[in-house]
Symmetry: D2
Subunit: 336 residues, 4 copies
């Protein structure tokens, strides 16, 4: 951290800042410029225990230099992490493909979806059991029965199963059915839930919050990892901007930025970003081209009858066609 | 809802949409224009049960006309709701003033804060017991002990007590100590928590999510109200934008917009919007001038030693000075 | 500016940065920490002439410390500037009130508007002659005839006249008719236009760009001032965010932030922020309470027939009523 | 357009709206629902001449259905437009690649850049002669001499030349040197400039405004096309969001959205979106995968000495390497 003193700061002001740093076991290097004095803080600033130096007399501002996450950082694991879920590696040379309906609606629906996405080459089956919905009057999911049906479909077709958990109290039950938990965008900063899935040890797919910076997202991953669970995969699913042509704005730059700053794998959810089936394939291919480690795509055996997010779900033939394009682009960027 | 057909839609496409509407017990009114055909949907569109008409052949788009919240709407309670907490009315002629530190840190600190804000005319004492923090390594609050100290300080100085609940599992304990629950910005769409505080019957201060539209905020209030708890007060605390001069951008327009669309009272949190003590007073006064029903302000007996959000907390004398200005502006807009 | 070296930087890397700084006549102060080395740059960084130090080996990032505007800064004129237009001071104790229609439509209309706003206490008449419109097929203004009619109405009722200039080629003609130029939000970074109005010497009302930070806005003001024209007044008119309930989001915080960083007066345009007449008064009062030096309000003798922005224009009686409320709030915050 | 009446609207209110529509030669189709009455407006709403129906008694809101651009729409030219510049087609099967430095700095620099990008397969040489800069104290470009040097370098190596015009008064001179004009992001709504380049007939590369919706961008293209110049190519270069990890957020979704709504070709500028050389290649490949018709990339013979945007310019070898990856991804999505 660097402390910038005001132009009008006195020597006594500077001395006081240095004294406060010393009290907390921190060093200080002074740079006395023509326009202002800077104080470089030497040592781990967490020793300040929350004290805000900007409140000291003569201090203009404090400039943070280093990020607060450690386990999630690239520095810690320069070679990157590979997260393995039921024998399938995420973050290696091969792309991980997750597909399935927005919500589990019935046994017939999830079985048909599983069969279709397996045939098209997916390794994971997705499907919502608990659905966080904007309005309390919208369909809220089949809940635990949804987890059970998803597991049954996954087992029937040899697919790993990923599904969202929305509360601490579901973690135990969900762990019986899911190979991987999803933390949804709305819960990215539900810190108690993050700690709970951290303690569970189950691999976690952590979606980016709709208005979260990449730094905040990595801090959220750190919550899970600091509980001893390093099996975290990030998922970019679009951020909220002023543009309304798409449901969200896919921040495809997140792929190279995460690769640079963090050791965690990152996959792309083109469906929630697009909000419209016609845009899903271009966004999926863009994500792969930008270096993502996989995709999670909404696929429904009959989108026209879907009870939620119908507009953005692909049919099984459309998903199979997308898989061929994905394979071609993956090969072009040195992936499988 | 209005269904806009594509220019290229056939009569058969139009007939199919009308047929689907009829299947669900809905009527249809056709407007055949030179450029396109429109179908006005008559009846409660929730009968569609999630089916997305845009997936039918020939449909260009669907335009929603009515919002999804009911109990929170102005239509339902045109005169507006007054929420009473421990005998103090929020939403009436008199402004409600809540003040206190970001976090409860110690008995001495919260007692000093309570004494100070009471003397300056606040009716509510605020203070965080559970603190959602971006980094897992930051101070996380005194937890249940924080609630206990807050209650003690509130009782000692005749102040109602408001504090955040961050998980379903805390609701029961928190209800023993708090007169009003706060749902923080990060949890505005933690729907299970919303339902839990709804069932508790305890009055709720619902902060706006950092990137939530006013419509989504009212839908969140609806989650609480639909569980039978109509004692909801909204709190605007700034939204995330591209501007970095302030911590968040206070959307002061939320006051008149909420007054028009909703029956719920709305108060302003200038502290989290500003992020800097020097901007708190101007934003507080702006909120009152725009028609807010009250304020919630961070006040600390010694901000320089605060363990969190130090930069934005007012001293007690600064808060007392603000209260005088608030009284003057309130009088200017016909409030007390 | 501070240069942060990578953890992996060698002594040779550090030496090279210091050498580059010396080449440009700049000093360097080193802070060697446990985690990284920082180099404080001493002297005026503009001497680097655009060279980007982050491209040198071993450099992690550069952190700017000081802003690039000088004449527009508070440091330069700590007491603040008062801009006088035709004898009316903007930035003093008395609020400056500008009012009039979105566009000049006819002599009868602008005369009626001028009479009405004068009677209600405005000192300035506004009205668009050249109208930048999103679509080429929308009404584009009466152009030079608009300036002429505005002047005529201003003279008839003793009002100063402010109107937008949209191109360098209009500056000369506009200067014959206007007491003050308006630079619209879309042209805030039309740097050639800024320089042209700077050279004209005519006072300038500089609207904030729809997605411009306050720092960029002050840099734009600097363009005008660096041509020798210090008569610049800033106008906050709402920024673009994800919220659609209002046309733009009024950033009322801009008032205290500008007062802190800049010597220039700032007024508020509640009309373009609101986009709806019902929200204009609350936003206007919020702006005054937050410390703005005045208002610019769209007022039309018959809004229902207005050719542009009809929804947000006040009637003359509504404006007169607002003026009474403005006077009360102004008094409450020590203004007139 | 659809007019939504308030629940409280009377029959007289509805009749009045219908009468106003008839006065303007427009038809009306009524849909009388349980909750509200809708009036579908039949005919070209531009006949309303700006009159805002929401100001009539009993009107809740008006919902626009059709966009305001015509020539730029997909409807008008369903097969899409191919824009040919000096014999090179943009919008066909082959990708168009434009490359060169941010700014023309000297003859040696632009010659070296031209030689390098030509060898790597680019068809266009880019380079700024007039540079719009945030601060008036930053390098502003070589101006007309820059155009001349760019032309010389283009001619020497058989490259078409594209450069920015920033004012109406430069169009004539720039037309002598440039094969294609660039309109920069800051000038996307400088409507007088759009009309001037429209009248010039020279092909135009229209960058998206930093906070412009895709609809506004297409309206800006319409300004150029409505002057008789259909040779418009769109360029997505990132939008402003809350995320600061990249200079702007590349909205890669713009490629499929533009392809659906508009007949115009679209290319991607990964350099201004990224703001950092390390992210340029991933974003370039993402753009091609998403269906863009080409790229414009900043390339400098020696980025470390560049006078502007140094951090985001590629070296010539890095650009040559990128070109190989671009070719592979292009082939994967059926392009050349």
């Amino acid at each position: 951290m660097i402390v910038l003193m005001k132009k009008t700061a006195t020597q006594a002001d500077v001395d006081r800042v240095v004294a406060v740093l010393k009290e907390h076991g921190l060093g200080a290097h002074l740079s006395v410029g023509a326009q202002a004095t800077l104080i470089g803080v030497l040592g781990d600033k967490s020793r300040l225990g929350g004290q805000d130096l900007t409140l000291l007399d003569g201090v203009e501002s404090c400039v943070p230099i280093l990020h607060s996450y450690k386990l999630a950082s690239r520095d810690m694991t320069p070679e990157g992490r590979v997260v393995t879920v039921g024998g399938v590696a995420i973050g290696g040379k091969q792309l991980a493909i997750m597909a399935g309906p927005c919500a589990v609606e019935s046994e017939a629906q999830i079985m048909a979806a599983a069969e279709g996405v397996k045939a098209a080459g997916a390794q994971f089956l997705r499907g919502g059991a608990y659905k966080p919905r904007t309005s309390p009057y919208a369909f809220q999911g089949l809940e635990d029965e949804g987890y059970r049906l998803l597991r049954k479909a996954g087992d029937a077709f040899g697919l790993r199963v990923v599904s969202e958990v929305v509360g601490v109290e579901q973690v135990e039950t969900a762990a019986q059915y899911c190979d991987m938990f999803q933390i949804g965008a709305r819960n990215m900063q539900n810190f108690r839930l993050l700690k709970a899935v951290g303690r569970s040890g189950v691999p976690v797919l952590l979606k980016r919050g709709i208005a979260s910076t990449i730094e905040e997202w990595l801090d959220a991953a750190e919550y899970i990892m600091s509980e001893g669970n390093g099996n975290v995969v990030l998922c970019e699913r679009g951020i909220r901007t002023f543009e309304t042509a798409t449901r969200n704005t896919l921040d495809v730059s997140a792929a190279p930025v995460v690769k640079e700053r963090s050791c965690l794998p990152i996959i792309i959810d083109p469906s929630h970003a697009a909000g419209k089936a016609a845009y899903v394939a271009p966004l999926a291919l863009a994500g792969v081209a930008a270096g993502a480690d996989g995709l999670i795509v909404e696929v429904h055996p009959d989108p026209k009858t879907a009870v939620s997010d119908a507009a953005q779900q692909l049919t099984i033939p459309a998903f199979a066609a997308l898989q061929k394009q994905v394979a071609a682009v993956a090969a072009a960027v040195g992936r499988e």
